[in-house]
Symmetry: C2
Subunit: 153 residues, 2 copies
DNA sequence: CTAATTAGAGACTCTTTTGTCTTAAAATAA
DNA sequence: TTATTTTAAGACAAAAGAGTCTCTAATTAG
């Protein structure tokens, strides 16, 4: 798999937060229900993003988490790097340590190209891009649901 | 990681076999030493490729494994599919079951493009392509070695 | 035939990832 | 103050991936 499950859940969650008005805190419990992700597991993932500074949290009634920046300023790559780290964009496709321009493996050049296209995609797509597209076309972030249902309540 | 370790080892091993004359059997023990991969683990991986029909094996002295087709006819994608299966090229980036043209997630279109560029790279690169490049430029398939050392003996 | 060499098969362990659960700490409301 | 709601922290368990080990079966060499 390209991205870990944690990372995928993190993307779904931040994408959901990007549909919310900026100042509002959303409880993780509600997110976990809307997104059909285990509450405790999602909590753990979002704690990483809070530690990373991408989210801020607030305890107690009316608490929850929110993005620290507008969704248009957060790119997918930010979430991926925060959760999965840089390996996807730096590691050799044949697993050789120190593979690079200076000391490449036979696949290095081709893989570097492919990797760049992955990086570009993640770098050029913001949470808002996807949230707006999802809303306009009523797409889904869960197995069965759609965006309308996601935004309701 | 894009590819599992098993898959990476499988690629290194088949790439190594592609440097050998067609009829010759290479013992897995020797490959494991040349490639610095645990013998038993490599054996298990190559058994998959033998079952898959990409390799054939022969027991006893002068036995070993060899490619069943010329390296120029085996593409990287063949090895990847045999070991990691099709998930990389079919799965939704947000992990939603059944994500596709008909019922896409917000990331589907962009991810489909990126995925195509991964597929193209794997489909357009043969074992021989890499083996020849490695030999010409004396590249490496291990942390420290080079191709010259690989081919020696 | 016997010993040596090789792949095959499967049990087993270790590590990482994924997921669950419990308790603590912060904040609010009554 | 007390009960409630929320995140924080960390122990724990389950599953998957990675790696080891032993024994068997096939083949060859002597």
């Amino acid at each position: 798999m390209l991205l870990s499950k944690s990372c995928v859940y993190g993307l779904r969650a931040t994408l959901y937060l990007a549909t919310k008005p900026g100042g509002e805190f959303t409880p993780i419990k509600k997110m976990s229900e809307k997104l059909e992700i285990s509450f405790h597991f999602l909590t753990k993932i979002l704690q990483q993003l809070t530690a990373d500074g991408m989210l801020e949290s607030f305890k107690g009634p009316n608490g929850g988490v929110r993005l620290t920046k507008p969704g248009s300023k957060i790119k997918l790559i930010d979430v991926v790097l925060a959760i999965d780290g840089p390996k996807l964009l730096t590691e050799c496709a044949l697993g050789l340590p120190g593979c690079g321009l200076k000391n490449p493996c036979p696949l290095h050049d081709k893989w570097a190209e492919t990797r760049d296209s992955i990086r570009d995609m993640l770098q050029n797509t913001s949470l808002s891009d996807l949230a707006e597209k999802g809303e306009k076309e009523n797409l889904r972030l869960t197995e069965d649901g759609d965006f309308e249902e996601l935004l309701r309540n």
